[in-house]
Assembly symmetry: C2
Homo-oligomer: 274 residues x 2
């Protein structure tokens, strides 16, 4: 993993039967994982669970004992199978309560559409006691943030546009308060003519010597000179200066070792990874 084990740990729970029957590819988790990584968190688990109270509570409880941050996606809507808040409340041992701020958000969303507040819609404003509702600029269900015994639990809708809007506007500022100082720098070295397994001992040795860098080779096909590899080095450090120095020195070593093994470096680029 990039960074040190002193980085705060983050878990992502993606909730929804549709994920477990493979109807939907979960793009939310990768989007969140990238954001969390760049903020300085170490994402240790991404878990997809069905819309079942028992399953969500089980994974929430595991995360509560270990993570600094748990982000859930999905299961906040008005339908019978949206069980996330009930499960979070149970895992935290807090009752669900009608939250006046959340109720106002839900009411306003529907009144703009001239729709009444039914019990199903009101359910979206019943939050675990002590929660803070997060405005949803793109839909009905507010996000929910609750701090519990040193763990920040954030529940977001499963619709990507809603999840992303709430995260960027209302969750990032909260995460920045608890994130460590951390900068990232990434270098890509494209090598032709050295098979992945030939370069493996070199990368292994570099990874061992540089625990705060994440080194990974990605096979990219075959060309005239043989296999093409894109070797990525993602370095993290308290300052960008240091991250840059680390990533670039490692990728220079990779390039020279690849050439020693008879390969040709066809492209090298470094930059801020986003």
């Amino acid at each position: 993993m990039p960074g040190s084990s002193s980085q705060p740990e983050a878990w992502i729970l993606a909730i929804g039967n549709e994920l477990l029957i493979g109807r939907i590819v979960d793009t939310n988790s990768a989007w969140l994982a990238r954001r969390l990584t760049f903020l300085g968190f170490r994402v240790r688990r991404i878990i997809k669970v069905p819309d079942s109270l028992e399953d969500i509570v089980e994974e929430m409880r595991r995360g509560l004992g270990r993570a600094r941050v748990i982000i859930t996606t999905g299961g906040l809507g008005p339908t019978y199978d949206d069980k996330t808040l009930e499960a979070v409340a149970e895992a935290l041992g807090r009752p669900l309560e009608l939250n006046p701020k959340a109720l106002k958000m839900v009411e306003e969303f529907y009144s703009k559409k001239n729709l009444p507040l039914t019990p199903e819609r009101e359910k979206m404003a019943r939050l675990p006691k002590g929660s803070k509702p997060l405005p949803n600029p793109a839909g009905a269900a507010p996000g929910v943030l609750v701090e519990h015994n040193g763990v920040m639990v954030v529940s977001l809708p499963g619709v990507p546009a809603e999840m992303e809007a709430i995260f960027d506007n209302y969750v990032v500022p909260e995460l920045k308060k608890i994130a460590p100082p951390m900068a990232l720098w990434e270098c890509s070295t494209v090598i032709e003519g050295v098979p992945e397994s030939g370069l493996a001992p070199v990368l292994e040795e570099l990874a061992r010597r540089n625990p705060s860098a994440y080194i990974k080779s990605h096979p990219k096909g075959h060309e005239v000179l043989g296999p093409i590899l894109d070797v990525r080095v993602l370095a993290s450090a308290p300052s960008e200066e240091e991250a840059k120095r680390l990533a670039e020195s490692i990728s220079e070593k990779i390039a020279s070792e690849a050439e020693r093994l008879g390969g040709k470096v066809t492209k090298r680029s470094c930059g801020h990874p986003d």
Copy 2:
């Protein structure tokens, strides 16, 4: 979940740091989940874990106590961070052994490219004792199948083309031996003019009455008449006849209830879900 709780449970472990830093969207898990669901398994967990022995072993052990099938993806390659087989061996309490059949597969792959068998490449043939190697038509690392105390553990490469080829050619026949008789039928009903929360109590009631059907509404935007919903009904039964009858009768009820609520059914279609 579609089907009953008597369906054998399947877990998917997707292994790789790149998944947890969000560099890669994990499409393998959804692909596998869909295949497993159609074969009659109930996918209960999809878990992404980093390339860390401790983390992989932890999730393997949880799955071994509960699942009938565990499929892992990723971590079979020649590089230092490919730790899947070591972790599977540890979780099963079996030693890693050089498997002669697997060694032959790996040797043949490299000899066709006039490449020697290095220790890194040989590592791909060191399998948990008692494993069966599965030929990889698209790459170097064989898949691995091992039966352990009534659990089928299958390890596949992370490269989608390799994973899919091994699964369809060598894993599906093994899974069919333990899969229950099950057929699926799916109906889609597109409704305009009824908000999701308005239809929620109807769907809740239908889901309660039909535990072997999975009913889910997907918001699809807004049109002249108001919100558009695609309500999917996925029914499972021991025969296709029964699955068809169930899915179609539920979707007819949804259509008539939607019309009662002032909505308009703009499209209905049913078929085998693939």
